[in-house]
Every structure is written in C-alpha cells, then in structure tokens.
C-alpha cells in the first residue's frame, strides 16, 4: 500500500542537506612538492589555468629527499585520505639524487602501509618537471579519482593525538 506524505519545502531542504552530509565525504589529500620541479609545475598549472579537483593541499619542501617516512605515516594517522609526493624527473634532481632517495623510502612506506591496513595506492610518487603544468593537473585529477574510489582512510577518526599549534 502506498502512503503519501506531505513535507514542506523547508523540511525537504533539510532532508537533502542531511543526506548530503552523510555522503559528503570528500577526499582530503596532502601533497609534498619539491621547490624546483613539481611545485613550479603546479604553479604553471595555475598560470595556464588548467583546472583540477580542489582536494589537494600542497606543502612545499626543497627536495623530495627531505621526505621523512614519518611525514607520510603521520598524515595517514591524522586521517588524510591520500598523500601525494612530486619530485624532479630521474637525473634532473636539483640536489643530484634526492628524488631517488624519496623513491626508495616511498617503496618501503608502501609496504608498511599495508600492515597498518592502509591501501598502498593512497600514496603516490610522481616525477613532474617545472614545465609539466598539464601533467601535474592530470596526475592530481587521477589521484583524486583513485582516492574517491578507495573511500575514506580506514584510520580516519582514530586521531593522532596532536593538537593544532
């Protein structure tokens, strides 16, 4: 038997809002970009107005060699859904070999992530040069889609015990 209920416009709206909040999870992605290549590439995406999803927030570092594995782990423990690292192409590192060091550490961290129950695909390392604005936008778009398909970080809500400065 069919029941017809009448709801006011306001009620409708608040219902819609409620369902929106439930499904309103949007990926939160932190990106580490080296000053010389990927950060400049992201700048170029900006100057040439190539759009990409707004889920990523970039932290500037001088070189991907600076990437301490704890940065990545900490980000995941704090509930970030994806971590992106962008460095110079092999052989083009401003500091000779920082990008190779980053690659080694990323491979290691990916193995650890699995043990924590975090999908390794939530961590992505890419080589993006200062002239590859379009590539930056494309990679970030792809990565955001990937994180969307993976859903929220399983550790979300556990808290990292840190408070904002």
């Amino acid at each position: 038997m069919e029941t017809i209920t009448f709801t006011s416009e306001d009620e409708k709206k608040s219902d819609a809002e409620k369902s929106l909040t439930k499904s309103s999870w949007t990926p939160r992605i932190v990106g580490f970009a080296c000053n010389w290549c990927t950060y400049a590439g992201a700048d170029l995406a900006g100057t040439t107005r190539i759009t990409y999803p707004p889920n990523i927030r970039i932290v500037r570092i001088m070189c991907t060699g600076r990437m301490d594995p704890t940065f990545i782990l900490n980000a995941f423990f704090c509930g970030v859904d994806g971590v992106f690292i962008g460095g110079c192409h092999p052989g083009e590192c401003h500091y000779q070999s920082g990008n190779y060091k980053a690659q080694r550490r990323v491979l290691l961290v990916k193995k650890m992530l699995r043990q924590f129950g975090i999908e390794p695909e939530r961590l992505r390392l890419e080589w993006i040069s200062a002239s590859e604005g379009a590539k930056f936008a494309q990679v970030v778009t792809e990565f955001t889609e990937k994180i969307k398909s993976l859903g929220p970080n399983p550790l979300k809500g556990n808290g990292c015990g840190k408070k904002a400065g």
Partner: protein, 626 residues
C-alpha cells in the same frame, strides 16, 4: 595573535608599506602573505620584512592563487582550500626561526658553453667587462651555424664577413681562453663557485706546432671522400681537416671515425699527413685530456639542430639530390662553399625552384608544434638569391602563413615579391619524379584545390629543433626544459635569460628558435646577468642547511653516505656527525633518514612540516572547530 589585513595589491608599494607600518607600530614578528606563489614574490616580501628589521626567514607565504583560485572553478570548495592553505601557513609561521644568511665570495671567471654567435657574443661582453672567460665548443672551430650561412636577412649582409671578426676577437682577447673540440663533463658547486670538469678531445695534432698550412689535408688518402659537416653534406673533406678556411682556431683535427690509421691501424707505409707535415705536429698517441676549472657563473649557448627532413618521407628528401634543405642551399650559394657560390645541382642550373615552408615546424604529427621563426625570412632571402643568380628562374614559395614580423622584414618581403617570386599559401605538399625533373603536389589553400608544380630544385625550409646535446646539458646543470625540449628560462616574461639554477644563464637557440639579432641581444643580456654576481664579488647563500643536535645524534652515520655534497663530517672523538654549512645545500636528504631525529633542516624542520600537516588533516580540523 594573528592580525588580518586585506589589500588587493600587497606586492605594490602601498601594500608593502602596510606591512612595514604594522611591523613598526605593532611590533609584528611573523608575517604571512596569502597571495601568489612564493616563487613569484617571496623575495619581495622578505626584503619588506628586512627593511623593518624583521628577519627574512620570519616571513611565510600561502599560495592561494596559482595553487587555488586559478585552478579551481567551484568557489566554495576553492575558498575552503584557500582557508586551509592560510591556516597551514599560519601554523608554520609560528614555528619559523630567524636565520642569518651567509655571504660567499664569487670566482671572477665565467664559463660559456657553445661557440656559436650567442656564445661568442656573451664571451666577448663578459671579457670586455674585465672578467676571465672560458669559451668551450664541441666542434673543432667556433662559429656555429652562423658561419655556415651565406647572407643574412633582411639586410643581405655577408654572414661570414660580420661573424669572422668576432671569432678572431674571441681568439685574441686577453681575457678569453678558447677550448674547442671539448665538452663539459661534470658541473659541481653553486653560483659563485662552480667546479667544472671538461674533456678536451684528442685532435691527434699538436696544437702548438700546427701552423694551419693544410698540407696534411691536401695529401690525406681520404681526401674528398668524407662528408663535410660544415658544408651540410654538399661538399667533401679529408680525414684531417679544418671545418672551413676561416676556422678559429686554425688548427687541424684528425677525424677518428674516418682516419685510416686510427680505424684500421694502417695508412700506407706511414700516414701521409705525418709524412708531409713540415712542423711535425701529427701526434697519433694523443689522448683525451680532462681539465678542471673554477668559475663563478655559466652561460649556456648550445644552439640548435636543423630538422632532419628524412622524417617527412612524402618530401622524398632522401631520394632526390635536387631536394635539399635550407642549410644545404646556404652552402651551395656561399662563395666559400663547394660550388664557389654557383647554384648548381648535378652540374646544372635550376630554372624552376620551389620552396616548401614549415618542414618540421608547426607540425603536431611530428611533435614539433612550434614556429621556427627564421624559415619564412630565410626562404624569402633564398628566393631572392635564386633570382639574383639565375635571373630568368621561376621561383615559387609554398607557405603556411608568411610571418615577416621583425624590423625590416615586411619591407624585404615586399621587395622580393616585386622581383617576381610567387608566394602561394599551401598545405600538405608531396614530391615525386616527373619526366626529367620533379613535381610538387600541394593544396593551394586560397584556391581550395590541388595543384601540381614542376621543379628542378626543391628547397625544404627545415625548422629549428633543440640541439642533440640539450638534454645532456640540462642534466649537467640541473636546468628545466620546456615541453618542446628547449631550455627553460626562470620566467618567460621577466627573467628570460636566467634559469632555475642560480648563476646559470641561457642565450640563443638553445632557449627557443630565434634569428641572429635576437640571439645577439639575448647573448648580451645573458652576459650582463652573468657579470652581476662577479661584479658584486659575493653572493648570498640561503641559510637553509642541516644542523645536528649532538645530544641526540647516536653516531650511526646513516646520513653520511646520503649527502651528495660531502657536507657531513664525522667527529670520531665525540662519535657524532657534524655539518659543514658552507657545503650543505639544504636538500634535507639526511634529515629525512636520521633515525633519531638529531638532524634539523633549517626552515623546513620536522616541527614546521608537522604543524602544516596537522592543520591540513581532518582530526585537528575537527578538534579546532569544536
């Protein structure tokens, strides 16, 4: 306590004044500007802070333009992101420490890589300013492509006549050291203090003894049997050669790939060159030499390569001797060329000449989307030369778009049109044999129909491509390349000769295709830029360096092998690592690997990065909202 201020043009004078006033009157000790990329204006605002006595490293920038407002269309989402970025910068700013910059002296000498017109001009300007210059060229002579050209557009100056005096000047200048037939192998160091390793290839000729008389080439058993690179294959040379008669230095070189003695170990009873050389300059035991030099600045002027027309098979360049490239045409009409300036194809003067434009330029199928900038004008010049040398000749130029944009270009184009050269807008040409001669089939895009032109000479206006060594040079000096493969400038508008690497400047066609006046102008700009740090005598080195906390360091030495600059020095006595801050570049590789957290990377400390991370992650967001 943050104090928000809103101003539309913070980088303008009044905007900066606003910051200065607040520092002055309110005693602000950390400044965050949320605006464009720090790569654009961080330096500007650091100076603003410094002028009020606030340490430059107490300044932080949130990039809400390039990384946010310019790339996101959804306003609420973009605003939320901007808020996050500002909060992240604020969190970081609270943890910034004042740092003091180091000044290091600059070696008053420059390295110029590439001895074409760009390199020669840059070297001369730097040398005239009173600094020592090392000019390195990979070929046996300086001169580059300009030496190969016959006339230059639009003035029809003789290319060699205006170039050779400069070549001689470069050779004789007391401040310039020429190193030809040499290549750069390794570059270490940073602005002001580069250490460069060069490889001086063996010429098998004693540089001091060779007088350049040429008897050796005259008697070489391979005489007139080797393709002359300088004549773009239109002429032949010996296995011992100078590229062209006005070569600088005028010293002979043995081609190790073609010399009978070097390839087979035998050349008659005794190599003919060795036998005839009056000064005994031949020295087959010579080996490549490695030279290490110290310079303060570097100018890269490595030039271009002409497009290989074989990559357009429909133009049949590889099949017909009367299909030639623009560069080959230059050698044919040059009075110093293989035909002494007579336009002869297989001994005959052509009567019907067709020029095809945009060969290897503006061609996305080949991946060469760019305009080579010189082909329109050189084809117009060459069309004029055909008319001059063969008055009755029928000359047609098939162009995509005619680009006569420079000073005097349009006037020259008009003149050549009035001489009877036919210009037809066309696309998609192909060349095939027809009877005794050739035929060019193309679409006349004004008439909208296919046409066939008979020809006994077709000149392909081959475009400008990044030189083959560009990638290697980019890697050596840590330079970026644009998607087209040319070297990338630090800023396309405002820093056109600087690069991402401080102290390294670019000039000429290695940066993008350009004609001679533009190349010379850019070379002079690069020279002026390279002179600045040398004239000042010192450069400021960023204090972004590693620091070891000796109370925490366990002496594991993991970091030591990671340092590319040998900046980490182990203290045996104390069993701790120490940092030589003069050598440290601040990449942070050591800090990223230190298991005890004893290493701090100044300005990118763990605490600063974690503060940003926590602000950007959700848990803190929720906590702080509650």
């Amino acid at each position: 306590m943050p104090l928000p201020r809103n101003y539309p043009y913070m980088c303008s004078d009044p905007g900066q004044e606003l910051i200065k006033k607040d520092i002055r009157t309110l005693g602000l000790n950390r400044i965050v500007v949320a605006a464009c990329s720090p790569r654009m204006h961080e330096a500007t605002f650091r100076k603003t802070c410094e002028s009020e006595g606030l340490n430059a490293y107490c300044f932080e920038m949130a990039n809400i333009r390039e990384h946010c407002s310019w790339v996101h269309k959804n306003r609420p989402e973009a605003t939320a992101k901007a808020v996050d970025l500002v909060r992240s910068s604020l969190a970081r700013a609270g943890l910034l420490h004042p740092l003091s910059v180091q000044e290091v002296p600059v070696t008053p000498a420059a390295l110029v890589i590439g001895g074409g017109i760009a390199g020669i001009q840059a070297a001369l300007d730097i040398a005239n300013a009173g600094f020592r210059v090392l000019l390195v060229e990979k070929e046996p002579s300086i001169g580059g492509h300009m030496a190969q050209l016959d006339k230059t557009f639009p003035t029809l100056d003789c290319s060699a006549c205006i170039l050779t005096p400069k070549m001689v000047d470069a050779e004789n200048h007391p401040n310039i050291q020429l190193l030809t037939y040499s290549e750069v192998e390794k570059v270490d160091g940073y602005v002001g203090n580069f250490t460069v390793t060069l490889r001086k290839k063996a010429r098998y000729v004693d540089h001091e003894k060779c007088t350049g008389c040429g008897l050796c080439a005259e008697h070489c058993r391979m005489k007139d049997r080797i393709r002359s690179e300088f004549d773009a294959g239109m002429g032949k040379r010996s296995a011992i050669y100078v590229p062209f008669p006005q070569a600088v230095p005028l010293k002979y070189t043995v081609d190790p790939e073609h010399c009978l003695f070097l390839t087979r170990g035998k050349c008659g009873k005794k190599p003919a060159c060795q036998e005839v050389c009056p000064s005994g300059a031949l020295h087959f035991g010579q080996k490549d030499e490695r030279i290490e030099v110290h310079v303060g600045t570097i100018v890269v002027a490595t030039g271009f390569d002409s497009f290989d027309a074989c990559r357009k098979p429909e133009l049949a360049y590889a099949h017909y001797p009367n299909v030639i490239t623009g560069l080959e045409f230059e050698r044919l009409v040059s009075a110093a060329g293989p035909t002494e300036g007579r336009l002869l194809i297989e001994g005959k003067e052509p009567r019907k000449v067709v020029f095809i434009q945009c060969v290897g330029s503006r061609d996305k199928n080949l991946g060469n989307a760019w305009c080579s900038r010189v082909c329109c004008m050189y084809a117009i010049k060459q069309a004029h030369l055909v008319k001059e040398k063969i008055p009755g000749a029928h000359v047609t130029v098939l162009y995509t778009d005619l680009r006569a944009f420079g000073k005097g270009f349009e006037e020259f184009y008009d003149r050549v049109r009035s001489e009877g050269v036919i210009f037809r807008r066309a696309s998609g040409s192909e060349i095939y044999r027809k009877g005794e001669g050739l035929a060019v089939r193309t679409e006349d895009t004004f008439l909208g129909r296919t046409i066939e032109l008979e020809a006994d000479l077709v000149v392909l206006s081959a475009g400008v491509e990044p030189g083959k060594g560009t990638e290697a040079v980019a890697k050596l000096l840590k330079l970026s390349r644009s998607p087209d493969g040319f070297l990338m400038e630090a800023h396309p508008k405002l820093r056109p000769v600087e690069t991402a690497t401080d102290g390294v400047y670019i000039a000429g066609c290695c940066q993008s295709p350009k004609d001679i006046p533009d190349t010379v102008a850019q070379a002079k700009a690069a020279a002026a830029s390279a002179i600045i740090p040398m004239a000042v005598g010192k450069v400021i080195v960023e204090p972004i360096v590693a620091q070891v906390d000796e109370n925490v360091c366990g002496g594991c030495r993991i970091c030591e092998s990671l340092c590319e600059y040998k900046a980490l020095i182990f203290d045996q006595e104390k069993n701790i690592m120490t940092v030589n801050t003069a050598l440290c570049k601040g990449c942070g590789s050591c800090g990223g690997a230190c298991p005890t957290g004893a290493i701090t990377i100044q300005h990118y400390t763990d605490a600063q990065i974690f503060a940003q991370l926590h602000t950007l992650s959700e848990c803190v967001r929720e906590e702080s909202i509650q």
